[in-house]
């Protein structure tokens, strides 16, 4: 009936285009990429909820003064939805002679239909009176008028504001205009006291008055003519090209900085790159400081000579197409000169006293109220760094120097009290290292101070020398154990003392530098340092255990993410017990290799079976019972027993020699004996003594052969 007419009309329906622009006072550049994503997601969700998302393309773009969405391929109207309403049973709706009853009449009335339009349906409960209702689809325009303001409203921002008063709208910055054009026609709706229309504004200084726009193409073209490049990708491309062109012309290399590039892309509506110079006398400052001054405050790209040293130029991205009079360049140069003069002042005044002279000042810098000042932390880090170096030296790492680790740890936090770090906090550690070197500390010590906050992420390099590793590990172990001791555990989103990063750093340093470190002993040493130095706080065993578990958990993460071991392999090795991460990694390598052999997976299945049997039995987990060979009843049982005993001796020898793969191969060789056993022997025998003896045998297998990896963890789901 009218359904077929509907579908014909739908085929003839033209697709419609929507342009939405939220015109704002300058939106923070760092928030724009997420806002673009959120707006796209909001629109997608709202379209889907209206059954309108099929075949629709949603693109969103952000620039400082605008958040833009472009929708294409939208249907003009929602499809009508036909649905059936069931009324009273036939037996109630019609009387004995087939005349409609009151019930039938009132159902028809309620449905707004004549009696003749009703019909009988048969469903599992019987025959019923029914009516067909058509829910008319609304037009896209009707829907958009509700949906667009909703999509804007639902954007979430890190910190919103109001610009009128407490009952006013909230957004990231004041909304000053809204463009909503549907197929060339403005779609008026109101949001935040602004009525949407078809007028937009161009660049703040290059744009000419309000611009009337018909559609997205028209909008993009008119904005370009008025100083705004709408698409971030296009702006980024333009900046990259110009940076490269400057580099070519000046025969220097632009200091790579993907994050800065992203930031300036979203800071400018009409970006162009300007080159400026600074006085080469400032090159006496270390490159790290020059780059930080240029990048941090001024958002300039530093440039480097071929040898990698900073050249006395900078590249600034400005929000103008050109600077014909050189005024902008002169301004930026003057600002940078002042900034560099400040840095030079700090560099000189900080060094009027030696780094060690800042130690007493650290007493006034609190680390955490219950864990004391940084001065206190320094003593704990020293103790840890000494302890680690000693351990390493004793285990044969002869380049481990206790005295140097102690000195580097002592000076590691001094720069926190310098003016340079107070001004450029991101240079902590680096400044200390630079000062130490300038003041004649040994290179080893200076580099260790410089590096000791590293690594700050999975990709960041670890400290370049062993002394730096000792200080970095000492600092991080102290942070983790100290914070766990006062209950500052990281939660889902909050980790104010960056403990996850610290744990990750510990794991990365140990694995990359291949350091022998017993995690439990190190946690114990950190706890001891906390007790013997200020704040002289004891760490209860549960909290030590908690800190250790936290570290192991991070280690599992690193081994999966960075070393690409699978979930079950990592779980199998950690379930077997991990003390030393180097050892754990060796076991993982062996496990990964042996897994490919044909005997291994079936054996793993058998191990799982053994564990299940034991868990269901009355056998206690750690129980050891002597096996009595005279209670064996079948050959398979005896064979397994002798195979197990023979393998156990070999496995222990191979393990002692660190030959994990060989040990695993021996274990894999047990497959036949295990299979035969399960085929021929009924473990849960009637006779208790026999049953217990069999369980004892299985338990020995688990005990002896799951010390490298617990195979019963293998297989199953690959990812959790």
């Amino acid at each position: 009936m009218n359904r077929s007419r509907q579908s014909k009309r739908k085929a003839a329906e033209k697709e419609i285009e929507v342009l939405l622009e939220v015109g704002c006072e300058e939106i923070p550049a760092g928030m724009l990429p997420k806002a673009e994503e959120d707006l796209r997601a909001n629109l997608g969700k709202l379209l889907a909820a209206e059954n309108l998302s099929d075949g629709v393309t949603v693109e969103t773009f952000g620039a400082p003064r605008r958040l833009v969405a472009h929708l294409r391929g939208l249907r003009e109207k929602q499809a009508d939805v036909v649905h059936e309403v069931t009324g009273p049973p036939k037996s109630v709706a019609y009387d004995a002679v087939g005349e409609p009853t009151r019930a039938a009449l009132s159902f028809a009335e309620k449905q707004g239909l004549a009696l003749k339009d009703l019909y009988i349906v048969t469903n599992p409960k019987g025959e019923y009176l029914a009516a067909q209702q058509v829910k008319r689809g609304r037009t896209a325009e009707q829907i958009l008028a509700e949906m667009l303001p909703r999509a804007i409203h639902d954007l979430s921002w890190p910190r919103s504001m109001t610009w009128t008063g407490m009952d006013g709208a909230r957004f990231i910055r004041p909304i000053r205009w809204i463009v909503a054009v549907v197929n060339g026609k403005p779609l008026p709706f109101s949001f935040a006291g602004v009525t949407a229309g078809d007028l937009t504004l161009g660049h703040r200084f290059l744009g000419k008055g309000p611009l009337r726009v018909r559609d997205f193409r028209d909008y993009e073209r008119k904005l370009k003519a008025n100083g705004v490049v709408v698409r971030p990708a296009e702006r980024r491309e333009k900046i990259s090209k110009e940076l490269a062109a400057h580099g070519k012309r000046g025969a220097y290399r632009v200091h790579e900085d993907a994050e800065l590039l992203k930031l300036v892309t979203y800071l400018n509506e009409c970006p162009s790159v300007l080159e400026g110079d600074f006085d080469p006398s400032f090159l006496a400052l270390p490159d790290e400081i020059l780059i930080t001054v240029m990048r941090g405050h001024q958002k300039y790209f530093a440039v480097e000579r071929r040898g990698g040293e900073v050249a006395p130029h900078f590249l600034a991205v400005i929000n103008l197409p050109k600077d014909p009079k050189g005024l902008v360049r002169a301004g930026h140069e003057r600002v940078l000169r002042a900034r560099l003069a400040d840095a030079q002042f700090f560099w000189e005044s900080d060094q009027k006293c030696r780094l060690a002279d800042y130690l007493p000042k650290l007493e006034r810098v609190t680390y955490e109220s219950r864990l004391g000042s940084y001065r206190d932390k320094v003593e704990r880090v020293r103790a840890m760094a000494r302890w680690l170096s000693e351990q390493w030296f004793n285990s044969g790492l002869l380049q481990a120097h206790v005295a140097e680790a102690d000195r580097a740890a002592e000076l590691s936090k001094c720069d926190l009290a310098t003016e340079m770090v107070r001004e450029f906090t991101e240079l902590q550690g680096i400044v200390g290292g630079l000062y130490a070197r300038a003041q004649g500390e040994p290179d080893d010590v200076a580099d260790a101070i410089y590096d000791h906050y590293r690594p700050v992420g999975l990709e960041d390099p670890i400290p370049r020398n062993l002394t730096g590793c000792a200080v970095a590990l000492g600092d991080k172990f102290d942070s983790i154990v100290g914070c766990f001791a006062v209950g500052l555990l990281p939660t889902g989103s909050s980790d104010p003392y960056a403990l996850r990063r610290a744990a990750l750093g510990i794991v990365k340093i140990i694995l990359e530098r291949k350091l022998p470190v017993s995690l439990s002993l190190a946690v114990g040493a950190a706890a001891k340092a906390l007790l013997t130095n200020a704040p002289k706080r004891g760490v209860p065993p549960e909290q030590e255990a908690q800190a250790l578990a936290f570290l192991l958990d991070r280690a599992k993460f690193v081994l999966r993410e960075r070393e690409k071991f699978s979930y079950d392999e990592v779980n199998a090795v950690f379930r077997a017990g991990v003390e030393d991460l180097m050892d754990a990694e060796k076991r993982l390598v062996a496990l990964k290799a042996i897994r490919k052999s044909k005997n291994f997976e079936p054996l793993a299945v058998s191990f799982k079976r053994i564990r299940n049997i034991l868990e269901k039995s009355d056998f206690k987990k750690e129980e050891v019972r002597a096996i009595q060979p005279d209670l064996f009843e079948s050959g398979a049982e005896r064979e397994l027993f002798s195979a197990v005993r023979a393998a156990a001796t070999k496995v222990q020898a191979e393990k002692r020699a660190g030959k994990y793969q060989e040990a695993l191969e021996v274990i894999a060789g047990l497959r036949k004996a295990v299979d035969d056993f399960f085929e021929q022997v009924m473990v849960m025998a009637e006779k208790e003594a026999v049953r217990r003896n069999r369980l004892a045998l299985l338990s020995e297998i688990l005990r002896e052969f799951t010390t490298i990896a617990d195979f019963s963890e293998l297989g199953g789901e690959e990812r959790k």
């Binding site: 550049a29 902008v328 002169a330 301004g331 600002v335 002042f345 609190t366």
Partner: protein, 314 residues
């Protein structure tokens, strides 16, 4: 000496005092009351009661004034060309915030002689917060060719109280802007008037106050003064709470606020002297904030504003 050399060339850019005049003129034309600097030491123009208290309550208000602002820890003995113990802010409050406030602001730059199209002017995210005043706002720092020239803030809270309506606060850094206009690289070379430089007028003050606040101030005496001012403020505020009837309208809350400002400045002096630890720092700031917030709440009651509404900041 340097000043003389400069004077022989044709001077460019506004004199420091003319900059104050231009801005005053511009903003009075926009309906601002032209106020004078507050006569108690403050660290920022925001602390002037014409901002801190006027933004509270429903009444519309527009005000502009220059405010010398003391930041003892920023002193550099007059040796650093850009950092000052005391700098001058030009402060504008527009309550409620007008819809075209950014355009108005940019016009004011034009009034100083800046051709907007020839410069790289941008608004970069910078939210302002004063933990000692329990005040914060959302906004930007305005950059002119990379130079921070103004803090532009939509005030959200003052004295811990959600504002309704919202005021806009514009804080111009006059020394920086003037150095830009005159094209000089040291603040001390600025022409203040036709024949006097900034250095001639202010250098001795920078030297002496830096020496005082870093090396010679008596920390113990300052601590004692802090306690005294805090006590007087608290006593006045306690008194207001128990005062009823008509005397309430004339009750001295404004003097309580003066004591609060004193505390804030004394705290800054202690900080510059380097005698407070991080923990104590937070504790002292909380004490000043407590007085500021109580004053704000009392003030709102006194002017008969609506009952204080607090909301979690979003």
């Amino acid at each position: 000496m340097t000043a003389k050399v400069k004077l022989e060339k044709k001077p460019t850019g506004l004199n420091f005092q003319d900059l104050v005049l231009k801005l005053s003129h511009f903003w009075t034309k926009q309906g601002c009351v032209l106020q004078q600097p507050y006569d108690v030491e403050v660290g920022a123009g925001t602390m002037h009661p014409e901002t801190f208290l006027r933004v509270l309550g429903p009444a519309a208000y527009r005000v502009a004034y220059a405010q010398p602002s003391r930041r003892p820890a920023d002193g550099r003995y007059g040796e650093n060309p850009n950092r000052l113990y005391k700098h001058t802010q030009f402060q504008v409050i527009l309550k409620p915030s007008p819809g075209d406030v950014q355009d108005l602001y940019l016009e004011s730059l034009g009034a100083m002689g800046i051709t907007l199209k020839e410069h790289d002017i941008r608004f970069e995210e910078d939210n302002w917060e004063s933990p000692t005043l329990g005040a914060w706002g959302i906004g930007w720092q305005v950059l002119l060719d990379g130079l921070e020239i103004t803090q532009f803030t939509y005030f959200q809270q003052s004295g811990g109280i959600d504002l309704d309506p919202i005021s806009v606060e514009l804080t111009y850094g006059l020394e920086r802007i003037c150095a830009f206009l005159q094209g000089v690289s040291s603040v001390y070379d600025l022409r203040w008037s036709r024949d006097k430089t900034y250095g001639q007028i202010r250098l001795a003050e920078e030297q002496q106050f830096s020496e005082y606040s870093f090396n010679r101030s008596d920390a113990q005496a300052i601590r004692a003064e802090f306690e005294l001012h805090e006590k007087q403020a608290q006593e006045l505020l306690d008194g207001f709470a128990t005062t009823e009837g008509q005397v309430r309208a004339r009750y001295p809350l404004l003097p309580a606020y003066d004591h609060c400002l004193k505390c804030s400045n004394l705290f800054n002096l202690l900080d510059a002297r380097g005698v407070i630890s991080t923990t104590e720092r937070a504790a002292l700031m909380a004490r000043v904030r407590m007085v500021a917030c109580r004053t704000a709440a009392g003030y709102l009651e006194q002017i008969g504003g609506p009952t204080v509404r607090r909301e979690v900041r979003g």
